[in-house]
């Protein structure tokens, strides 16, 4: 029996796709690198995922988990022909424990649907990637997704108390729980952000966050990018951790304004969206402090959203920024590096210099409060040599971030895109340790191979001597 026959025996003919044209759609994500799938399956339950993984293991075919494919680093793109397990239909009935402020939801649930589904409880799921209307909770777990409101609340890993996961061998295991500090090693914490390389997550125990009683949203305008960046650093240094602190530069503001019409100041060099949440009695004072800092750093105007509608419009502008660019350019490449917040102004300046040197059209919208940079390069891949230029500039941007004490990725993940840059931040011994950790979950290397770690990450790939491994008892 072929792989496809075996899979069809489990799922029937309709939920196993093997026609090359059908596969084309699934074997890519929102990033730039395409891949190749041998088949794609659409399981609906944990048991079906498990059965598919057993079949794949028997055939020795690698497996790649896929949510909705909004990932930007090639995490869900097969590095070698693989079985794609499309998780969007895995969303059994949720189990909500309002008193413990947590809920088991399906990996296939959309991020925004989870927050909407618990709205009535006065709570929400805090991680809010700009793609939240389209991405899955399983994908969020895979990438440890962030979002504007992860500055004070923390990224996905802080909001995932447990996962139900199918391992490469098809076994189902629950890691973590609603009780604090489950005993034993924190394998849940390792699975979050592991980009589908340790197993396929089928259900997620998400933490629910209380909605704040009061919100103030500020739009701060600057005539230099440096002043905006300095405002971010000074705010953090003043001991304020706002709920969100996002920056857009002028090219981005212009692109967004044309698309959303949020009355953004298109003549400003940069804008910051700052949001503070809390008690009615506290938010105004905090907003005033941010305003004072901004003015000290040279803000040219400050606008406080007058009502919910204005606030929502500002966020709509922020969260649709990429969509706005996608409309305008045939291709775009979205970077994701992270730097210490004290280095923000310097690194942003260097990134502009790089874009200028490569003659690239660049715009910026990013999670400034976390030091998480997202330079976005709009280009036309049909122009000869352009894609290579974009790639070369990308690598330089990563290098200046790393040189400033930063790292390769703040939220989009390593995937295929950056795995060969891992050596910039980790030594061979560090990478070998990560490879061993991965092998502990998936000894045969069938789960999303070729992701996160560069080839040769294992010391023994080189025949470098480490201690011989004892048999795990």
């Amino acid at each position: 029996m072929t792989l496809v026959d075996d899979l069809q025996a489990i799922l029937g003919p309709d939920r196993v796709l093997s026609h090359p044209l059908e596969l084309l759609v699934y074997a890519k994500d929102a990033g730039v690198t395409p891949g190749e799938a041998v088949a794609a399956v659409l399981p609906e339950t944990t048991q079906e995922v498990s059965a598919c993984l057993r079949v794949a293991a028997r055939h020795g075919v690698p497996v790649v988990a896929r949510g909705t494919g909004t990932g930007l680093s090639g995490g869900a793109v097969p590095d070698e022909p693989a079985l794609l397990v499309v998780m969007t239909r895995v969303d059994p009935a949720w189990e909500i424990d309002a008193a413990s402020r947590c809920a088991w939801v399906g990996a296939g649930a959309l991020n925004l649907d989870v927050s909407r589904g618990i709205e009535g409880l006065g709570m929400h799921f805090a991680p809010d990637p700009s793609s939240q209307a389209a991405c899955t909770i399983g994908g969020n777990v895979g990438t440890n997704a962030g979002g504007p409101h992860c500055l004070a609340e923390g990224t996905t890993v802080v909001h995932v108390l447990g996962v139900e996961m199918v391992t490469a061998s098809g076994d189902v295991v629950v890691l973590g729980s609603a009780a604090p500090d489950p005993i034993g090693l924190d394998l849940r914490g390792v699975v979050v952000g592991s980009e589908g390389t340790l197993g396929i997550v089928t259900r997620v125990l998400v933490k629910l966050t209380e909605n704040p009683p009061a919100v103030r949203t500020l739009l701060l305008t600057f005539d230099s990018l440096r002043a905006a960046a300095a405002t971010v650093s000074a705010t953090i240094a003043a001991g304020i951790v706002p709920a969100a602190l996002e920056m857009m530069d002028q090219p981005m503001v212009i692109a967004v304004e044309a698309f959303i019409h949020a009355d953004l100041p298109v003549d400003a060099a940069a804008v910051l969206i700052a949001e503070v949440v809390g008690l009615d009695e506290g938010v105004d004072a905090e907003a005033a402090t941010i305003e004072r800092i901004a003015v000290e750093q040279g803000a040219t105007s400050v606008r406080v959203a007058g009502d919910d509608a204005e606030r929502e419009l500002l966020w709509k502008a922020r969260k649709n920024a990429f969509g706005a660019v996608a409309q305008a350019a045939p291709n775009y490449y979205l970077h994701d590096t992270v730097v210490p917040r004290t280095a923000l102004a310097d690194v942003v300046t260097q990134i502009y210099e790089i874009a200028e040197r490569f003659e690239l059209e660049m715009m910026n919208v990013f999670h400034a409060g976390d030091g998480n940079l997202h330079p976005l390069v709009a280009y036309d891949a049909r122009e000869p040599g352009k894609a290579e230029q974009v790639q070369a500039a990308a690598e330089e941007m990563v290098r200046v971030s790393v040189a400033a004490g930063g790292s390769l990725t703040g939220e989009h993940g390593i995937g295929l895109e950056k795995r060969d840059l891992m050596g910039l931040v980790f030594s061979p011994v560090d990478l070998d340790a990560q490879a061993r950790l991965r092998d502990a979950f998936d000894p045969d290397g069938l789960m999303n191979p070729g992701k996160i770690l560069p080839r040769g990450a294992r010391c023994y790939d080189y025949g470098m001597s480490a201690l011989p491994e004892s048999e795990p008892s």
Partner: protein
């Protein structure tokens, strides 16, 4: 004895007097650098010599007893390596006392949110034991503030994971894995922690109905109930504190007084889903057991008899939680962890990835890993 001499020769400068309170070991070593710690562990692995790690010794009663040839103390690795005041991160060596670190941070009105009880606890010990302190309801567990870790692994490698950045998804999350690992992967030789700014004022509100107050208050630091009653712990501006007190209907008391540690022959912590706390509190009160319960978190510290604990363990495990022993008389027949977690084989393989010869605090974890 032979071993002692050989070790003493190899580890010349590292030999230390036995540490107060520590059990007998053939030799006590106190490395001054990560490299030293790694070479000792490499030697230990080569000769299959179990090593027990020692910080301040305040939580050595946790887990299965470790019988070790080498006791490795962190007291000579006690520097604050790098404090990025304006980025709200600090990097420290494991032997730094929590009280010293918090004292230092307080001068710039910051906190690492480590345990409130002053004393001998070290940062490394608190991280390795995964202790989060009372303010967890507001700031989350220590694990969520572990940004970077350097580890001398059980087989003598020196590795680093994470980064000194508040947001980062570069590679597997080793800092979180190391937090609460009880030395089972190796010695934490350095770690970077995320800091929080200290709010301007602190206050408490005694409350009658803990769960009701929890529902009414917005993001308090803690709501702790003991046999003496329940207290809401708040922070913020004066206006915020007053508003919160009015909402929950109680009187503000300035400052914070945290419950003193419960001391007894048997000390334990219940870890349960937050929704199970209220009922357990009733049960404990009825049974006359001394307890300190963190509402909204699900952690209940208590002292009691082994008989009482045995009964409680069944109740707690039925909620999906655990009863974890903090201290127990030597030789007492009581499992310190109880029912092992799911995926125990996976746990074993992960330990082996870092400590293939099983010399780093061997057997301390659930399942005897």
């Amino acid at each position: 004895m032979m071993l002692h001499q050989e070790m003493a020769r190899l580890a010349k400068g590292l030999v230390s007097d036995p540490v107060a309170g520590a059990p007998d070991a053939d030799i006590t070593l106190a490395p001054t650098s990560a490299e030293d710690a790694a070479s000792v562990l490499g030697f230990a692995a080569e000769h299959s010599l179990p090593v027990r790690f020692w910080g301040g010794g305040t939580h050595q009663g946790m887990g299965y007893p470790v019988v070790a040839d080498i006791l490795m103390s962190t007291h000579r690795m006690s520097s604050i390596v790098d404090w990025q005041v304006d980025d709200l991160t600090v990097t420290v060596q494991p032997g730094v006392l929590i009280a010293d670190l918090e004292g230092e941070l307080q001068q710039r009105r910051q906190t690492a949110v480590l345990q409130e009880v002053p004393g001998q606890s070290t940062v490394g010990g608190a991280v390795a034991a995964g202790l989060s302190g009372w303010r967890r309801l507001r700031y989350g567990p220590t694990r969520d503030r572990a940004l970077e870790v350097r580890l001398a692994t059980g087989d003598g490698r020196l590795i680093r994971g994470g980064g000194r950045l508040v947001k980062n998804v570069t590679g597997y999350d080793l800092p979180r894995l190391a937090t609460g690992s009880f030395g089972s992967l190796g010695l934490i030789t350095e770690m970077c922690l995320k800091l929080w700014p200290l709010p301007p004022e602190h206050a408490m509100v005694p409350v009658q109905d803990a769960e009701r107050a929890l529902a009414l208050a917005y993001r308090p630091l803690a709501l702790i109930e003991t046999n003496a009653g329940a207290t809401l712990y708040l922070s913020g501006s004066r206006e915020e504190l007053e508003a919160q007190a009015e909402r929950v209907g109680g009187d503000l008391v300035s400052g914070h007084r945290w419950p003193q540690p419960l001391v007894g022959a048997v000390e334990a912590t219940l870890r349960v889903p937050p929704s199970a706390v209220a009922q357990l509190v009733e049960k404990l009160r009825a049974a006359g057991i001394d307890f300190q319960a963190a509402h909204g978190v699900g952690e209940i510290r208590l002292v009691g008899s082994l008989g009482e604990l045995a009964e409680l363990r069944d109740t707690v495990e039925a909620t999906g939680g655990a009863l974890v022993i903090g201290k127990i008389p030597k030789g007492a027949d009581f499992d310190p962890w109880g029912k092992p977690p799911e995926g125990i084989d996976l746990q074993r393989r992960v330990k082996a990835a870092f400590d293939p010869r099983s010399v780093a605090n061997p057997g301390i974890l659930p399942g005897g890993i």
